[in-house]
Symmetry: C2
Subunit: 167 residues, 2 copies
DNA sequence: CTTGGAATGTCAACAATACTGACATAAAGT
DNA sequence: ACTTTATGTCAGTATTGTTGACATTCCAAG
């Protein structure tokens, strides 16, 4: 509750931006921005029999082609039962292909089919339009700040996993 | 899909920060950061019979004491049936008081009781700890950028309603 | 080669949160 | 008087998450 270790502050003197009021504002900003952030794909998904969970699965399968089920579970942070439901639908509907692992045959490597890629493209296009406008109007310096704060807001283990996504 | 109206850019020349790759990174950052953002209150709520929906209601009732049900519905963006369920629980459990409006007797003005304030405090304390650390480590400039980008990400109507919260 | 454990899949039950549609009541506005 | 608004409530349904239990497959160690 207290101000804590000012000594570790890389930014020194002025900590007025850490008032409860500013923090509260940040909290609400997260809530409203996330609502906007998800609204465009959500609208599109209503035309399908899919929901946000399908979007997330399709996104990360596209992001890391050949990802294993366990890897995907770690990233999404849900139970295998929960993921399995949406994954089964996506496989049954021909959007995702589940191939037996080559090195470890217990594992399943997940890939998007063309149909899956098409949906992913449609969803991420919509999401990027909003993100691009937000970035553009805020400018590159603001985007750097946005990234810095959001990275700090993540759980440390997640930060590592995201690094893994990039590589 | 194209780069769009560069002419309207207030930042002119360098638009390299708007690559699809950067946008994708921003999208995933939103997902993981929001997960972190909600995780602390979620853990606390497990000790109660409440969920994230109760947290949101309690938060905004605390934020704008005496808020009407319709106002709260607009802010939360859910149906009255959905809100009513959690609101009834909170009233029954003595965390929220629902008073008949003075000027318009159809309206209900919502207030937190001491018990409600206590829960709100516990939840927002936890959420602020993370937010404060994220802000502090990123610095005031980054926080300004964070705010700018997230405000741009909100729906325009929501931006107005948030202004209403401040006043 | 057997056994242990890891990775995966599946079934069932359940909980939280959202939705739609329908209907009721009270009070405000015209 | 009539309409609209604000609120509450009931019923049904969908999505997404959870636990718990159990089966299968298969790598790896003994």
């Amino acid at each position: 509750m207290q101000d804590g270790n000012v000594t570790s502050g890389n930014h020194g003197e002025d900590l007025l931006f850490l008032t409860d009021d500013n923090l509260l504002q940040g909290i609400e900003l997260m809530f409203f921005a996330y609502k906007g952030f998800t609204s465009d794909p959500d609208k599109i998904l209503q035309n399908y029999t899919y929901g946000r969970a399908h979007h997330r699965a399709v996104h990360f399968i596209n992001r890391k082609r050949g990802i294993t089920v366990n890897n995907l579970l770690d990233i999404l942070g849900v139970t295998k039962q929960s993921l399995n439901r949406v994954l089964r639908q996506l496989v049954d509907d021909g959007l995702v292909e589940s191939r037996i692992g080559t090195t470890d045959r217990r594992q399943r490597n997940l890939y998007l089919t063309q149909k899956g890629k098409d949906l992913e493209q449609e969803l991420s296009d919509a999401q990027r339009v909003r993100m691009r406008a937000a970035f553009r109007d805020a400018g590159p310096d603001a985007v750097r700040g946005f990234r810095a704060v959001l990275e700090n807001m993540m759980d440390p283990e997640m930060r590592k996993r995201v690094q893994g996504l990039k590589g």
